[in-house]
Symmetry: C3
Subunit: 140 residues, 3 copies
């Protein structure tokens, strides 16, 4: 019998960086006793991203940050939208280069993530923010 | 009671730039009286993208365009696929760097978009094009 | 009557490059006699991507590779995560810049792909790998 469920996750960031929230998604799936279906995540912001990345070596997150910092420099004189700070327009660009949606199959109560995959919120602003992720489930 | 619906949106562009079509998606949702479910959008092209971005300050779109123009220059001599014009291969790269799929939860008849989020078609070619977005809905 | 189905596709790569596996997805859809619904693909890896791109001129794939090779150079001294080889961290970055999820509407048994769209696995590592794509279907 198919059913649906919705939930909002609220995540507090401490400034720019990658925050693993796989456990929060798994906790919601477990609590709802979802078994087989599709989990969708949508981030309701335009200066942060959702990312599935390696959860083993923390240096991967360091390097992702270094690369994006060089690719989309804060305070780049190319930008005219500067009223919200030097990191605001770079945050929008970083969001455009990544994603705000994720879709994950669920099987036997487990997300179809690979062994090394974690679900991350990527905060692109330097100051702490409160971010909301809309979750949706459809399945058995 | 779960049900499905499908629709094709046809969007006319006037050349490179971001086109907000949130209203067209909302109109389809409203007409179908969809309440709780999942809306999926798929763009049937490889030289344009779907993007969720800030809909407040139009300078954000100007800056996104400036950044991508510099990152993926038209007429870049690195490209060998040039038969369709100087902006064709850059359009494919820009599409690869962004997305052609979006998934949006629907609750109480409203898309789970953030306050500042709009749904955009990003035309990457300079000449006007007709673009098709396949919409899918499953839910109540 | 709505139903669900799941499947794992195993794809063998011969090193860095784009591999068209549209036919494998279509074969699964056909075998299951799926008609109207939503197909979701999730790649269970962090150093390869899923991409929808042009399937006509093979030069497009050559140019995509050239561009990403220049954008994210192997052996870039900016990276500290180098223990798995010069192409490992670039592979993670390329994955972050593209996607590991795709969502495709299905109508009358056909994926809502555009005329020139193919579904690709983009292997970012130089050595051959075995990659798994989790498929999910919900629909009629």
């Amino acid at each position: 019998m198919l059913r649906q469920a919705s939930h909002d996750l609220t995540l507090a960031t401490r400034g720019r960086g990658l925050y693993d929230f796989t456990d929060e998604v798994v906790a919601w799936v477990t609590k709802g006793k979802f078994q087989h279906g599709l989990v969708t995540l949508h981030l309701r912001h335009t200066s942060a991203s959702l990312l599935i990345q390696e959860n083993a070596d923390p240096d991967v997150r360091v390097d992702l940050e270094s690369f994006f910092k060089r690719l989309v420099p804060d305070g780049d004189p190319i930008f005219v939208h500067t009223c919200e700070g030097e990191d605001d327009m770079p945050a929008h660009v970083r969001t455009a280069l990544t994603a705000v949606n994720l879709s994950l199959p669920l099987r036997n109560g487990r997300l179809a993530l690979g062994t090394w995959q974690g679900i991350y919120l990527w905060e692109h602003r330097h100051s702490p923010h409160t971010r909301q992720v809309a979750l949706h489930y459809i399945g058995e």
